[in-house]
């Protein structure tokens, strides 16, 4: 039981990060139809920028804020100089552009920062809490709470504000949105900004536990993408569910089966889901119109 709880918590913690990355994928996908493979780099940028600002003597809370601002700025630049000029290109081309951006950002991080692993101080220290025999790091709870707050804020924003409604309209039908006067270009830029902020926050929250380095983005992007697809691409709730599920899958297969092959198990489950439910867990089946 203690073991089960241990795996449950570590799964939820990692899953929360995956969920936030998947949410970033979803926001951009809904606004633009683009899969942004540079999503993982935002997580890296959040963690690394905070680390290096803190090392330079900037107080930690301010460093974190600045890191989020930096990530948002990079997200906007990415949209302005890489995505907008390629409007109308086909899917594979757009995927390659974002992958190019991801390689670039990783390369830049390697030059601007360094190639070592870094950590941040835990918010409430490193003494584990004892819950049902399992040892839980307080930072795990911080990650979970932070992810929850982000998801709730995002939901309130999208559900309650006019701007949020415009986001929904753009996601539902870009052409129709444009016809009723929504500037869909701004919506896409906005989605990059929000996604970058969410990614950076995830990076800052989880760095004390998982450490960070210039190249952590790739694997996070892959996992986040898989999680978003698992939940059903384009569904914010699906992204959260998919992320948590993927984290749990990994934690439990690492714990009970093989820590070496946890990723293999996770991907096999995802594939199995695709075959049974080709639209993901929460996605609605689309009827192909011919």
């Amino acid at each position: 039981m203690a073991e089960f709880l241990q795996f449950l918590f570590s799964g939820l913690t990692v899953g929360a990060v995956y969920a936030l990355v998947a949410l970033g994928f979803t926001l951009i996908y809904n606004a633009s139809g683009i899969i942004n493979f540079a999503q993982g780099e935002f997580v890296m940028l959040g963690g690394m920028t905070t680390v290096f600002l803190a090392l330079a003597g900037v107080p930690l809370p301010l460093a974190a804020v600045l890191a989020v601002v930096a990530a948002v700025a990079i997200g906007l630049l990415l949209h302005r100089f890489a995505i907008e000029p390629a409007r109308g290109a086909d899917t594979v081309t757009l995927i390659m552009i974002t992958i190019g951006a991801s390689i670039f950002l990783r390369g830049a991080a390697q030059v601007v920062f360094d190639k070592r692993f870094h950590s941040l101080p835990h918010l409430f220290g490193t003494d584990p809490l004892r819950i049902g025999g399992a040892a839980i790091l307080p930072q795990s709870l911080v990650v979970l709470a932070g992810a929850t707050v982000i998801v709730v804020l995002l939901w309130v924003f999208i559900d309650r504000t006019l701007f949020g409604k415009a986001v929904i309209a753009t996601a539902a039908n870009r052409l129709a949105a444009r016809l009723v006067g929504i500037n869909t270009g701004h919506m896409i830029g906005f989605s990059f900004a929000i996604s970058a902020a969410i990614g950076a926050l995830a990076g800052i929250l989880v760095t004390p536990i998982t450490l960070t380095s210039y190249d952590v983005g790739t694997l996070l992007a892959l996992k986040g993408f898989a999680a978003a697809m698992l939940g059903g691409m384009g569904y914010a709730l699906g992204a959260v569910v998919g992320g948590l599920l993927l984290g749990l899958l990994e934690a439990f297969s690492a714990g009970y089966l093989s820590s070496k092959y946890k990723d293999v198990v996770a991907f096999l489950v995802i594939l199995a889901v695709f075959f049974v439910m080709p639209q993901g867990l929460l996605g609605r089946a689309k009827v192909e119109r011919v």
Binding site: V287, E288, R289, V290
Partner: protein, 260 residues
């Protein structure tokens, strides 16, 4: 015996019954038209018959064999092909190559032979090309054979789809709005093309909004409204049926004027 039978076919999308309990029977080597206002379910019915959608209930029989739930390629190999309302042209290929793809089910070389370009492949390519040219000629597009398919005018693309389907040598050919985008002259040509196809023993099932064409060419007309059968009969019977006129006029369908 009829070549194509549809028995109590139904399908629903998100609670809306797009096709609801439709039964029809198509005699061999005739033109059987399906008409109805926009949204009546004509294309959905085509998608069900050609295996693009799986029916929720009911059966489809092709030449007396129950083919319900067969995949489209399996149906095509049994002799049922179709064209599309929203064009499905192979834009990467030339007009001729489009039609050559229609010969695919008659081509016998395997992928290893294809890789090695053995003499069998060369012979196959020649035979396919000739058959495809003949099919293009049947729709009057032989002069456009080497043009990129995407460069053809809309009406020509519609006919290209017919040629492509003919090349697969179907017993039953479903035509989804072949006259859309055609001027009166082209529609007249289309009339001739369809009659020639039927003379060769192919059964045509036609969905079309051009009522003049439909009334001229059809042996039987099946009328759908809101996914259900409204009536069926000869052109004269359908034209004089007040329910049909009402179905069209009641839907604010501009094209409905053609019926009256």
């Amino acid at each position: 015996m009829s070549i194509l039978q549809v028995e109590r076919l139904s399908i629903a999308f998100g609670g809306v019954r797009a096709i609801d309990d439709v039964t029809l029977s198509v005699p061999r080597a005739c033109v059987f038209s399906i008409i109805g206002p926009n949204g009546a379910g004509k294309t959905t019915l085509f998608n069900l018959i050609s295996g693009v959608y799986r029916p929720a209930a009911g059966r489809v029989l092709l030449d007396g064999v129950d083919v319900s739930g067969f995949a489209p390629d399996r149906l095509a190999r049994r002799g049922l092909s179709r064209t599309f309302q929203n064009l499905q042209i192979f834009f990467r290929l030339s007009a001729l190559e489009n039609v050559m793809v229609g010969r695919n089910r008659h081509e016998t070389t395997n992928v290893i032979q294809d890789l090695l370009h053995l003499p069998a492949v060369r012979r196959q390519n020649r035979a396919t090309r000739e058959a495809a040219l003949a099919a293009l000629a049947r729709v009057g597009l032989e002069a456009d054979a080497d043009k990129p398919a995407g460069s053809l005018p809309y009406g020509a693309m519609k006919r290209l789809e017919i040629a492509r389907a003919l090349a697969s040598e179907p017993q039953v050919l479903l035509l989804d709005e072949p006259a859309a985008g055609c001027n009166p002259v082209e529609t007249g040509e289309l009339d001739e093309i369809i009659r020639a196809i039927v003379r060769e023993g192919v059964t045509i099932v036609l969905v079309e909004h051009d009522m003049r064409l439909v009334m001229n060419i059809s042996d039987r007309i099946h009328v759908l409204a809101n996914g259900r059968t409204l009536t069926e009969g000869s052109a004269a019977e359908v034209r004089s049926n007040p329910a049909v006129v009402e179905a069209y006029l009641g839907t604010h369908n501009a094209r409905g004027r053609a019926v009256a």
